[in-house]
Amino acid sequence: MIKEIFKNLAAGKNVISKADLPALSAEEEKKLIDLQKGIDRIFGKSLRIRQVDAGSCNACEWECTALTNPVYDIQRFGIDFVASPRHADLILVTGPVSRQMELALKKTYLATPEPRIVVACGDCTIDGGVYKGSYAVTNGVANVIPVDYYIPGCPPSPGDLLSGFLKLLVTITK
């Protein structure tokens, strides 16, 4: 098996080379490098994120998922999405917080060890976005748990998320 893998690697078979990937702009590449430096310094090379969908339309989550694809490959910076809030440094919330998700969001927040950072992703999380005023949403994450940082957009693109994380790092170090 191991032999097989090395053989494939050597032959370049089934390996995605950088040249095959959709390109990132020079600006995005620079963002990535700055981001890495910040994470290395502040989080000891490891930032663990727990994503919680609190009633989003699902586009925001797909953009978070896209961060883990080979194009953005956010894991190479020591950032990863984890399965349990107990392993997380940061909670990334999406959605306007539907009433029926309020309790679950609070519980997830409380299960995350302190110091915890809450980042709200997407216009919905600011004031309910397009759902603002509906009886079934709470019009924003801050009405349910304290928010440290917002990344706006509907949805924010993977690039927006990267620059959001970067700015967040700058804010934290201040």
Binding site: S56, E61, N69, E102
Partner: protein
């Protein structure tokens, strides 16, 4: 035709391909059964609307379509006064069960004889006897607070219990391990084998239908685009189609072409992404990554041609905002590349025994159950159905394109992958074919005044299956009712049947093979 089963004359109303048939409560079962059994009609959706401002009645509509006939048969009943119950047809047509429970939650109309009349959309902490889609509904701040806290039990809604030696329960969710939407699953397992699964969804219920009523029809497009992220364009197309049909607008040929093109682009990025995602369920990292790269390429293309990775901001009531055909070169060259990469991916997947073995015979859904439960889209076609709205009720430019409804009789996870694979290839050739002609007309038709109390259906075949909107205007030409029926609402109830007898660790794989939307289902 219907007259045959009824003794007295019935009132019918025809609008485009919709035939509304007013019947009395007593005749409901007979008419539905006639359509369902004698005509093999598919139950597309059931919905209610509060039309008390017109004549003091609530109405319940049953939308059927008969295979091979481009027409919707819509028996409807009116409920007035104190007697707000209607006969349940769930025991005759099982796919009616969720619709009837939904109507009970949202309108307080009682489906009499329903085998499982528990709440569906509204969880236990929501006040009793409170029905959001009624026009005179309101809720106090205290009730809202308690609903959000989620601790009160205002109307009991117990999980079904499976008892017997060795049966134990595994509760999962609503917050899951991955980056996915929330929902609760209650497994009753015996050893590793799933005996029974009861999903409890609607955690992301956002009151979307009611929210539509507070907007104008033109503003509603923005909301329709945000019902289910990865089907944004299918939703906005179906919504716009419903409003346009209601207002009597015929959109220009060019707008039709743009919509057809982008519907197929949406299907393409979803299907390829889904095929890649299924690899996450079998631990095939290289397949997952390669799928994700192709998807990302398509998303970036979406962004370049429409300004949105999710194809938002193109549809408006009356047409579209941009001519996408000017990007022919970009689109066709990316498609060339994607075709190559995608063929390589499929070769890899089908050549990986460990992957294929996990897919074969897993999560089997029989045709019989799929049909009875009213399953739609890829899931239905992978279980032997050949229903595809693009063919059954052809619209936009689909009548000019050559394609077939791909279908497989296997019903397992493998079949769902293969149906997606075939459809993705088909979408590519449809997109290429669209570029071979030129199209007349402007981008959008002007929206005239919207008539009073008019109504119409709109539909599309989204990547997940058939999608319906039904809209009705009030006396001021604003929305009186916007009903949306997402394919996930039809398919969720079938998932427990597909996972029965599978092992718990295969559940994520089965679930991914359906790839249902929570947000779309929960509304």
């Amino acid at each position: 035709m219907i007259e045959k089963v009824l003794d007295k004359a019935v009132k019918t109303r025809e609008h485009l391909n919709e035939l509304y048939i007013e019947i009395s409560k007593e005749h409901l079962k007979k008419v539905c059964m006639y359509l369902y059994e004698n005509k093999d009609a598919l139950l597309r959706l059931i919905f209610a609307s509060d039309e008390r401002e017109i004549d003091g009645s609530f109405r319940v509509y049953y939308v059927f379509s008969i295979p091979g006939v481009d027409r919707f048969f819509i028996p409807l009943i009116s409920l007035k006064g104190d007697d707000l119950s209607f006969p349940s047809i769930t025991e005759l047509i099982p796919s009616a069960h969720w619709y009837e429970r939904e109507i009970q939650d949202m309108f307080g109309l009682v489906p009499e004889g329903h085998p499982d009349p528990r709440r569906l959309l509204l969880h236990e902490a929501f006040p009793a006897q409170s029905h959001p889609l009624r026009k005179d509904w309101g809720i106090s701040d205290d009730d809202l607070k308690e609903w959000g806290e989620g601790l009160a039990r205002k109307e009991k809604n117990e999980f079904m219990k499976v008892e017997g030696e060795g049966v134990y329960e595994i509760p999962v969710g609503p917050v899951h391990a991955g980056i996915i939407e929330p929902g609760h699953f209650r497994f009753s397992a015996i050893g590793e084998t799933i005996f029974f699964l009861e999903p409890r969804l609607f955690y992301t219920h956002k009151g979307t239908e009611k929210h539509f009523e507070g907007m104008s029809f033109t503003e509603g497009v923005r909301l329709a685009e945000r019902v289910s992220g990865t089907s944004s364009f299918s939703h906005s197309s179906a919504y716009c189609m419903a409003v346009e049909r209601m207002a009597g607008i015929e959109i220009p040929e060019k707008a039709k072409a743009v919509r057809t093109l982008l519907l197929e682009m949406e299907r393409l990025y979803n299907h390829i992404g889904d095929i890649g995602n299924m690899c996450a369920g079998t631990g095939l990292a290289v397949g997952y990554s390669r799928g994700a790269v192709i998807k990302e390429r398509l998303m970036q293309l979406n962004d370049r041609i429409t300004g949105s990775r999710y194809l938002r901001g193109i549809n408006i009531v009356g047409g579209v905002t941009q001519d996408i055909f000017i990007y022919a070169e970009d689109i066709l060259s990316i498609l060339d590349l994607v075709t190559k990469e995608y063929k390589g991916l499929m070769k890899l997947l089908l050549g990986t025994v460990s992957h294929v073995e996990r897919l074969e015979n897993t999560g089997r859904l029989s045709k019989d159950i799929a049909m009875k439960m009213g399953v739609t889209g890829v899931a239905a076609r992978a279980s032997g159905s050949n229903d595809d709205i693009r063919k059954a009720h052809t619209h936009l430019l689909y009548d000019r394109l050559v394609f077939e409804a791909h279908s497989s009789a296997r019903g397992d996870v493998f079949a769902r992958m293969m149906v997606r694979a075939e459809e993705a290839e088909c979408s590519i050739s449809m997109i290429e074919a669209l570029f071979e002609s030129s199209y007349q007309g402007g981008l959008a038709e002007e929206v005239k005044e919207i008539p009073q109390h008019a109504s119409a259906l709109g539909y599309s075949e989204s990547p997940r299956g058939s999608l319906f909107y039904w809209v009705m205007s009030d006396k001021n030409g604003r929305p009186l009712r916007v009903k949306l029926r997402s394919p996930s609402f039809c398919n969720w109830p079938a998932v427990p049947f597909a996972v029965h007898g599978n092992i718990v660790p295969d559940f994520p794989l089965c679930n991914k093979s359906f790839n249902l939307s929570y947000s779309g289902c929960d509304m």
